[in-house]
Symmetry: none
Subunit: 232 residues, 2 copies
DNA sequence: ACCCGTCTTAATCTTTCATTAATCTTTTTG
DNA sequence: CAAAAAGATTAATGAAAGATTAAGACGGGT
């Protein structure tokens, strides 16, 4: 269920800081999802939409910078800011060059963090309720979720609502299986024989729309679901 | 005539820092106007338009905070950021509560400043407002919102209030979806079956008025709303 | 009271889109 | 390898949304 609260994604491996911030931000009226590494973060981004991501730079497995790059690929217009103990100038510049909207040095003052988050959000284009606009890069295509446009080579095609929603699900789980069940529950809220048939029709249509770039395809996993595969 | 350079207003009483920054920013391709106090700053704002103001907090006569308040009164949507040696938490919060887009603590690193300026500018809501704030360019047409005139080729047509308001909404969200709901709430304050029908009638009328330029059109997104599309 | 310009309502026609159906192809499994 | 299940593809259908045109209502100004 959607609320009109601002949704924040906090990616912080340290337990103490992560807990402190998620509690504090929650108390300040934000909806906070706290995850502890980049993989989880990407999974979350695939599943739901956020207004802003807060990324720790120093993390095991995938650092904040690498994560930011992946975010740019998956959810083109999700703004993000960095938290870091590393205040080396070169890092600050790298952060901004990746498209960060802010770069905060630890120790973090929670009140200042809230002030900065609000400053950032107030500068964002006000989003229509319900139509939270996320864009996705899909090979040489770009999906403009807000305007329901599939852009290719300076040209575009307007998608229907269902087509858009389906492609958004696939694109946000790029190279990962989306089960029938999951898709059907998200799009139809139900999972029966007929919806399943309907899904097939939409898959065919999307394949058709996407055929100009042969580095991407929608694969079927028999009896399981679909994968939007993109060769990098 | 306007240039396409970003125009910065730097308000800094210290000679050495002011000189350093204005030189550096100028070198980086910005158009910089450096003034040394709030009075001068307000005079400049009255005379020309800026994209961003950079305010020192500690200044004689009028401090940065007071200046920011005056700026909000004069040029409502001029974004500003603070430079300051005072990094007291209460000051930082005050800065943001005044509407600052950023708050930088001295010593300033010039490269970081540039990175932050660019981050801010890239996140600004692109406003298609003309000089007056009520004038819009729509392909080869021009909408004079104040006088409710739609100008084309030295000729014009007077629009009704509703027509003007609707076209203003569409024009200020050029190439972006305006949902039914949004439009209806803005124009009718309500969203029911009949208003929706009424909206269709106005859309038809606007399409008719705008048909002389085929690089623009009002697109429908089924079940969602309308987009004023302008080919570049 | 009566225009006149403006907005709303109504009536009618057109288009769009999700669904269903029908048919063909591929994959799995015994 | 053959039958059954799952998937792919194309086309048909009907309901809802949108477009268009015309007629009615409303309100300010003279």
């Amino acid at each position: 269920m959607k609320t009109n609260k601002t949704r924040l994604l906090l990616v912080e491996d340290e337990d103490s800081l992560g807990y402190l911030l998620s509690e504090y931000l929650g108390m300040k009226g934000f909806m906070v999802k706290w995850v502890k590494d980049g993989e989880e973060a990407l999974a979350e981004i695939g599943q739901s939409t956020f207004d802003l991501a807060i990324l720790d730079v120093m993390m095991p497995k995938m650092d904040g910078f690498a994560l930011a790059e992946r975010i740019r690929l998956n959810a083109v217009d999700l703004p993000f800011l960095f938290l870091t103990a590393r205040s080396l100038k070169v890092d600050v510049l790298k952060g901004f060059s990746l498209g960060a909207v802010d770069y905060l040095k630890k120790p973090i003052d929670e009140e200042e963090l809230v002030a900065r988050i609000n400053a950032i959000l107030s500068r964002l284009v006000p989003k229509d309720l319900g139509a939270s606009g996320t864009s996705f890069r899909i090979g040489r295509y770009e999906l403009d979720g807000k305007n329901q446009k599939l852009i290719f080579n300076n040209d575009y095609r307007t998608l229907t609502t269902r087509e858009t929603e389906l492609l958004k699900i696939l694109a946000s789980n790029k190279n990962n299986l989306c089960t029938h069940k999951n898709i059907l529950l998200q799009l139809w809220g139900d999972n029966d024989y007929f919806n399943r048939k309907s899904l097939n029709v939409f898959i065919t249509r999307l394949r058709n729309y996407l055929k100009a770039d042969d580095t991407i395809k929608i694969e079927n996993v028999h009896g399981k679901g679909f994968i939007l595969r993109v060769k990098e």
